[in-house]
């Protein structure tokens, strides 16, 4: 059974040469911002084989031609969806949280008036790991945390996942990067082996259902200082990306920052933000003075 399945899957491989693979990766990176290294060839081939089968294309070359030249871009979008993996956990891409507490928040604090809130928006927040990681990072590592009124908003388009985020129940796997001291400080072990985040943190985050492309829903987000929008825009087409980052521009206060996923780059979406390098990460800043 297992052997026949393996054989069938092997037969579905699109038989790409290394040069075709390189060409595909370059194209896919240009369109989606997602980079695949040589070691990912099997992963990529399997997903392309699946799309070839579903579209009825004759070969990789035929399929690649369709992806590149289909006017609607629909197949490219389906391919992007197939290539992305929805996975989140606490302190994912934590170098951005390092940048937040080591550089971004101190810079924001220098330009804030006392008692003026610092606003952070996590979108999409999925099941809550990102906004809770932000909150814990600030509480644990920013020396000025008690000095400022920090508002963390977290939004997602999926009401079920948002309910899970509000409930704050997480598996052992989700907490794999959370140290024992932080677990005992912020999480309550449950009999089923899961961990629930403490009430104080759950109540400190304003969760809301938001569709990022609905201006009615995003309009209330204004004067935000930092937006975390990681691994969302890779699902959008070029126009959708443009519209979303332009919405962020209006949602941010002067000098506000956007943090994207590690494989995403603003330069392919818009030139109205300034790239800033903090440690190992590049974030994007709305100019302090907008003409």
């Amino acid at each position: 059974m297992a052997a026949s399945t393996a054989a069938r899957l092997k037969d579905q491989s699109p038989a790409m040469t290394d040069e075709e693979y390189a060409k595909f990766c370059e194209f896919f990176y240009r369109k989606s911002g997602i980079q695949f290294q040589a070691g990912k060839k099997y992963f990529v081939e399997r997903r392309i084989a699946d799309r070839i089968e579903k579209t009825g294309a004759e070969s990789f070359r035929d399929y690649f031609t369709m992806v590149r030249f289909q006017t609607t871009g629909e197949e490219l979008q389906l391919l992007v969806n197939a290539m992305t993996v929805n996975e989140t956990y606490f302190f994912r891409e934590d170098y951005q949280f390092d940048a937040l507490v080591d550089a971004i928040l101190p810079e924001i604090a220098r330009t804030k008036r006392p008692k003026e809130p610092i606003r952070i928006w996590s979108i999409p927040c999925s099941s809550g790991e990102e906004p809770y990681s932000i909150a814990i990072s600030i509480l644990e590592r920013w020396s000025q945390a008690d000095t400022w009124d920090i508002e963390i908003s977290a939004s997602d388009i999926d009401s079920k996942i948002l309910h899970a985020a509000r409930t704050g129940m997480f598996s052992e796997r989700s907490l794999s990067r959370v140290s024992a001291p932080l677990r005992s400080k912020y999480f309550i072990p449950r009999p089923d082996g899961n961990f629930q985040i403490c009430d104080e943190l759950r109540e400190s985050i304003d969760f809301s259902l938001v569709n990022v492309i609905d201006s009615l829903q995003t309009h209330r987000f204004r004067n935000i200082d930092v937006i975390f929008c990681r691994n969302l825009l890779i699902y959008f087409d070029d126009v959708g990306r443009r519209e979303t980052v332009e919405m962020f521009f209006d949602a941010l206060g002067p000098g506000g920052f956007v943090c994207l996923g590690h494989s995403e780059s603003m330069s392919r979406m818009s030139s109205i933000f300034l790239p800033r390098k903090f440690g190992e990460t590049i974030v994007y800043q709305k100019p302090l003075s907008v003409e």
């Binding site: 030249f69 009401s159 259902l209 569709n211 609905d214 126009v239 030139s271 003409e291």
Partner: protein, 196 residues
Amino acid sequence: MLTTAETPVRDLAALLDDLSAAEPSVRRAAARDLAAHPEAAMPACDRLEIEASPSVRAVLLTTLIHLQSPAVAVRLAAHLRSEDVPLRNAAIEALQEMPDAIAPHLQDLLADEDSDVRIFAVNILGALRHAQAPEWLAEVVRSDPHINVCAAAVDALAEIGSLETLIDLENLRRRYDGNAFMEFAIDAAMRRIEGQ
């Protein structure tokens, strides 16, 4: 619950007034909401010609992508002659997003007497989701007399060229025999197309 209600459409006349407001955020909001008004395409093109704020320009271009038509594409293509480099690049990026609208005008751009305009047209073609793009680039390689235009087309063909274009690249290599840069660029493009 996510709302299923349609976003209310703001009045066109009010939006056009806002398009010349002093505050860029008001102009951005107006430019964005104009996307709901197909008849606003030409006024948006007019505004783009005088708009100085990069952020408002960006939103105007996104709206024009939504309102795309051959007439819009012609207006945007006029910016290929602009000395304003950010605006010119932004126009190229916007035109790459409207393949059906720019396609009828591309032959004119590729025949323009200004070689810079032809290079920009090739840049558009290189990222255009249009089935004819490789053939139009091959035609550039066959017939354009300017080496820089041909070099831009070779670059683009390296990404989207097919085996049928190899003969044109071979002929181009002969045309520029002894030119080290062109030989290198053409050989690299041919290797890529052949999948070596």
